[in-house]
């Protein structure tokens, strides 16, 4: 304990704080970027997965296989796979790129299931009405189904992304200078492990907690009937 207290001023030096902030930012950036791109890729994947017709059977199978396989591989394994695969293609790919791609691959598979459940929650009658008006599958999905399934899709997707903030710690294994990696470095410099990882744990908490609250807020907001979601101003009597 005395040792920790003695180390405090030196540990919370300006340089270390900046280092921690930077790496926290990097963690957030990787997660946000990976999960966001993953979300859009998942939308595409789910849309392709629902392509009707016999000719699209191989396409559907590939989509199903992707989701089923990637959800069953440990994230760390995906990170290594991406690392080695990327390096055979692009020699000087940055580790940040590797991390984002790995998160992306993983997030796509997970959010695809969330999105699929969301789209399927919209009653068939809504699709029938759109189809009878000649809307077509793409526009029906974009204008009718997707907007109505957002309350079902957004909260778990945000929860997934927020939960993933901590899981990105695994990319420190390949040497991305994210939060956990910096922690190990500081620990190696002789700082007490309790101090270092206690601080790191606290920073992870600080990053996740407000976002979780925001996710919960979104959930209640989206669950409200659409008419009550409008700003009061433009509401007609």
């Amino acid at each position: 304990m005395d040792r920790i207290i003695a180390q405090l001023p030196r540990f919370f030096s300006e340089r270390n704080l900046i280092l921690l902030l930077e790496s926290a930012g990097l963690t957030l950036a990787m997660t946000a970027l990976g999960c966001l791109i993953g979300f859009f890729l998942a939308l595409v994947l789910v849309y392709l997965r629902k392509t009707p017709g016999l000719w699209a059977l191989p396409l559907r199978l590939v989509c199903v296989a992707y989701v089923e396989v990637f959800r069953r591989i440990p994230f760390l394994v995906i990170v290594y796979l991406v690392l080695f695969f990327i390096q055979t293609v692009i020699r000087d790919a940055s580790l940040f790129t590797v991390a984002v791609i790995a998160i992306c691959l993983y997030a796509t598979a997970y959010t695809a299931e969330i999105i699929r459940a969301g789209l399927e929650s919209v009653p068939q009658q809504q699709i029938d009405a759109a189809t009878a008006m000649n809307l077509g599958r793409f526009r029906t999905t974009l204008w009718v189904v997707l907007p109505q399934s957002m309350p079902v899709i957004v909260p778990p997707s945000v929860a997934f992304a927020v939960g993933f903030i901590k899981d990105t710690a695994l990319v420190s294994q390949v040497g991305v200078f994210e939060l956990t990696f910096r922690g190990k470095e500081l620990n190696n410099q002789g700082f007490s492990a309790v101090l270092v990882f206690g601080t790191i744990a606290f920073v992870y908490f600080l990053m996740s907690w407000p976002l979780s609250l925001y996710g919960q807020y979104l959930e209640t907001r989206l669950a409200a009937p659409r008419s009550q979601r409008r700003p009061r101003k433009i509401r007609q009597s």
């Binding site: 009658q125 809504q126 029938d128 009405a129 759109a130 189809t131 009878a132 008006m133 000649n134 809307l135 526009r139 204008w143 009718v144 907007p147 109505q148 009937p225 659409r226 008419s227 433009i234 007609q236």
Partner: protein
Amino acid sequence: MPHLEVSDVRARYGSLEVLSGVSFTVDRGEVVALVGPSGSGKSTVLRLLVGLLPPSGGTVRVAGEPVDYRRAAMVRAVRDRMAIVFQQYNLFQNMDVLKNVTLAPVRIKGRDRREVEDLARRLLDRVGLGDKLHAYPDELSGGQQQRVAIARALAMQPEILLLDEVTSALDPELVNEVLEVIRDLAREGMTMILVSHEMAFVREIADRVVMMDKGSVVEEGPPAEILDNPRTARARDFFGKILRH
């Protein structure tokens, strides 16, 4: 040549045959009422016509042209000429009333937005909803939603209008309003198929009545004939029950 000709049409949900050889015709400007007990396949006929359920046999002709429901382009062309008001209204829950009514004419038919919005306002006024342009379906009563659905179908300016129980959720006062609209349309020469349980209304507005039971047509004829002097025992039984109420 009839505007619409349905001959020996069959359809199934999985292994359940719900239409087993339905035939009837609708002339241009004619109003045909489709009646029959619950589950007899009236809604299914309408769904089939707009290509929501592929026929498993028989032919549908629109203006003499046989429709191949397996060909997407042909189905699109047919949908372009028809509009349907669903029994459950099926308004888009994520759009306000005006958007519900204008979406397809503007975005699909490519008509001028201003013109369509004017038309939409007039139609909504006509069904007594001129003050609800920006309400969402979940803020409207069943009867109001039903009337929006009618306005939405009319905004498509169809040649053939398919109406499925459009007065089921309306109170007597509103029934008259909506019936007035339908009467006007009939007078303007719109071809219509209307599914209804309201025999008084059917009697007044329909040129011809087609009675269905268990997926096929039992009897058809002018309202006076079929409602008052049904030839078949099945029709006598059905109208006997329904008219006694």
